[in-house]
Amino acid sequence: MALGFKGEQSILERYERDRASLRLKTMVALGVLLVLVLFSLCTGTSRFGLLYSPLEVVGCYGTWLQLNVVALIDPSVLLHKTELLEQYPMYYEVIARLAYTFITVVCGMLLAVAGMLYQNVFRNPIAAPSMLGVTSGISFGCMMMVWVFGQAAASATFYDLRFAFCFVGGVVVLLIVLALGGLVSGKRTLNMLDVMLVATILTGILNAVINYVVNSVFSDTEWTAYFEVSNVTDLTFTPLSLGVLVVVSLLCCIPVFWTRFQMNAVAFSDQEMRLLGVSPVKLRLIALACGSLMIVVAQTYVGTAAMISLVVPFVSRGIFGAEFRRQAIGNVLIGAIVLLACRILISFIPFVGDGVPLGTMVSLVTLPAFAWVMVVAQRQWNNN
């Protein structure tokens, strides 16, 4: 591609180098993710620090395929089910682990991309963790569930209902925040600062109420049930829940993909965006709606791990660059890597119950990583 001026060669060289480095970074991230996925698939869940050999794991998958896929064609395979399962005593564990790895990877991607969308739209990184009050709404939903059902709320029978409560809680809080923020901004405008202010206040109110109810009103068993419900400490899943996760993720990603070039224009002010032919209101609404939906779904499946939404966009912006598509690739990969790494660590660190909750582990991992990033790499990146 000849540009036709004197500095052309160096620009082309720089462009090629840039593309090559981007490819390299993406490959490295993908490689790390793959390694982590394979490692996670081989981890056992019945006790801490258990690692199965990959051959056994592959054998389990083969058994699953035989029992579920081949059986559709040739049902006689099911007659040998008991013998096949006896061959692999860790069968259910491994299959569950496969589903959970998938959930973790997808939720990590969703959390990171949601954080990126919010940071793009609000241009204020402090707003990211509270997520317009959605996190508090989800916790409120969990609290209501334990209030209504008592300590049985943590059992597997209520697993699907948990999604309903958390989802409704998150969406209701989001709508209240947007409505109040719109009222406070004035007629026919939506000032983001006012929305964030209202969200912070509502979050404070909700958190105080939740804190009071959980610590003062609930009995000990109810407190434990609330803890388990909000942190999703158990590893159950159902086909319905997996299906909902996949469908909602795709639904959220389509508008983001559609506007991936226009999203770069948020670096300008509103007026300049309009001059460029980009509608700031439309982008804001897309980012808000998709980001909030992603957050609600991800936190319903994985518990409150909001730190990923704050730190991972920061990191990926520095590594991959600030352009929207690059940022998106970086966020998707690094978010999945971080959440999966935390999940693996939980399976290897002995603790009571089902292990350290995922949110705590994410915070524990994120803080030193963030400090390292800030201290060492910030100087090279030259951002803000």
Binding site: N124, P125, I126, A127, P129, L180, L183, V184, S185, G186, L193, D194, M196, L197, V198, T200, I201, L202, G204, I205, N207, A208, V209, N211, Y212, N215, S216, D220, W223, T224, F227, A306, M307, L310, V311, F314, F351, V352, G353, V356, P357, G359, T360, S363, L364, T366, L367, F370, A371, M374, V375, Q378, R379, N382, N384
Partner: protein, 478 residues
């Protein structure tokens, strides 16, 4: 420049002594409406307007000095009684208190009134006790308690003791003032309207310190002396200790809170200092503070889970620590130990806080105006961190006061720190005292869960004020 003084000239009724050097052109009465040619007509007009002798000086015309046509016009216009003398009105305004100052004074009076009322009102007026089986009995006991209060007020009844109430309300007022002013300073120094005293992780650091105290020092603490059940035995035991041991036993958890806050804040500042190229970046600092705060909250939850699974009795202590505030009985020693640092810091903040106005400019502009932005910003932030840490250490978790009160006050008084700081201080004290008083009327157990109600009421207040002043009000500065 002409003399615009208000001295009673001899212009009224006095005839010019000598003829002017230049013949003044004759405009005639029709040229300027309302102008009367003779002094007699002017006096008649003054009488018509109902002005007394003294006020007539405003309307005195310089018959003696004629400086030309255009100059006289402004003085001539003063003859109309609906005209306003701009200059004297401005001078009057200069000597009057500004409206923001009046608001501050009103808040101070309100604080005194609310404080006295809170101290005098009996606690637990509306409380439900287990012996009251129906609404009628509850109502009767409410009436009885109110009757005792009214007979006290009208000097008919016996006095009832308000032993520790004064100490408690003193600490509450100081705490509310400290939190609110810290919030205002944080929002101004960090130039972010979402900042609050908990931004740098001070409150969570205090929580972490308290948890460490519960984990490691609980057995020897004041509250952990399980076997010494009666208060007299505890007092006996405490009197056998030396001064140092006594302070450690009674105030050990407050000390651990302070240490925890200090550790967290120092860590956050260190990370942001080492990571920035030109001075400390406030965004990095805020994010680090948020991360550390979330981490501490998650670790505390994890610890609670651990205690609940292993059946440890300290779980209840930790659970109550997270929710309760102002739950101790406050002695004079508490007031002195907590109140003196808080008062000193408040006075310092009031005096030094006026310089925060210059931080509204960008970094370069403020520096070019001669302000030492680094020292100013971080000095004030450090002072307010100390304030918040002391308040949380002695009182417990009280959320949202430091966030909401400065916002509401800013929308009423404006962003000028000269008025914002005293106003938010007073408003924070009034807010917390009023809420605690209202809650304590429902019984002791309700008042200690003050965090919920400060959040609720603060949030509602803020939204009401924000809705009433839409768009650009006095406070929209970010």
């Amino acid at each position: 420049m002409a003399k615009l003084s208000l001295k009673k000239t001899d212009g009224v009724g006095a005839a010019p002594d000598k003829k002017p050097a230049v013949e003044a052109p004759d405009y005639g009465a029709a040229a300027v409406p309302g102008y009367r040619e003779s002094a007699r007509d002017r006096a008649a007009q003054k009488e018509q307007a109902g002005l007394t002798e003294g006020q007539g000086a405003l309307f005195a015309a310089p018959d003696v000095i004629d400086r030309g046509p255009d100059y006289g016009y402004r003085r001539l216009r003063l003859h109309r009684k609906d005209e306003v003398d701009v200059y004297s009105a401005q001078r009057d305004r200069d000597h009057r208190m500004s409206s923001q100052g009046r608001i501050c004074l009103g808040l101070a009076v309100l604080l005194v009134v609310v404080f006295l009322l809170a101290m005098a009102l009996p606690p637990g007026v509306f409380a439900f006790s287990a012996s009251e089986t129906s609404l009628a009995t509850w109502f009767a006991s409410v009436q009885h308690r109110l009757g005792a209060f009214f007979s006290y007020i009208t000097f008919q009844g016996a006095s009832y003791s308000i032993d520790y109430t004064a100490n408690r309300y003193l600490i509450i007022a100081l705490g509310g003032a400290a939190l609110a002013v810290s919030g205002a300073v944080y929002q101004g120094a960090l130039k972010n309207s979402l900042a609050s005293p908990s931004t740098l992780g001070v409150m969570q650091g205090a929580n972490a310190g308290r948890i460490v105290y519960v984990l490691f020092f609980y057995g020897s603490s004041y509250a952990g002396m399980n076997e010494l059940v009666r208060a007299s035995e505890i007092r006996e035991y405490l009197s056998t200790l030396s001064v140092g041991e006594y302070l450690m036993t009674v105030y050990g958890d407050s000390l651990c809170c302070l240490v925890g806050s200090a550790v967290v804040v120092v860590f956050v500042l260190l990370v942001s200092h080492v990571s920035s190229q030109r001075g400390v970046s406030s965004i990095v600092m805020v994010i680090t503070g948020q991360i550390v705060a979330t981490l501490i909250g998650a670790v505390i939850a994890m610890l609670q889970y651990f205690f609940s699974e292993t059946g440890d009795s300290r779980l209840e202590v930790i659970r109550s620590l997270q929710v309760e505030a102002f739950s101790d009985t406050f002695t004079m020693l508490d007031v002195v130990l907590a109140g003196i640092p808080v008062l000193l810091c408040l006075v310092l903040v009031l005096f030094l806080g006026q310089r925060l106005n210059i931080l509204a400019f960008s970094e370069e502009e403020a520096r070019s105006m001669g302000a030492n932005t680094t020292a100013l910003r971080w000095g004030m932030v450090g002072l307010c961190t100390l304030l918040t840490a002391v308040v949380v250490a002695f009182c417990g978790n009280v959320g949202m006061v430091g966030f909401v009160v400065p916002h509401v006050v800013r929308r009423i008084v404006g962003p000028n720190f000269k008025y914002l700081l005293p106003a938010s201080m007073l408003a924070g004290a009034v807010f917390l005292v009023a809420i605690y008083c209202a809650l304590s009327m429902f019984g002791d157990g309700v008042a200690t869960n003050i965090g919920v109600f400060t959040s609720l009421l603060g949030g509602v207040f803020f939204i009401i004020v924000a809705l009433r002043q839409k768009g650009d009000a006095r406070g929209a500065w970010l």
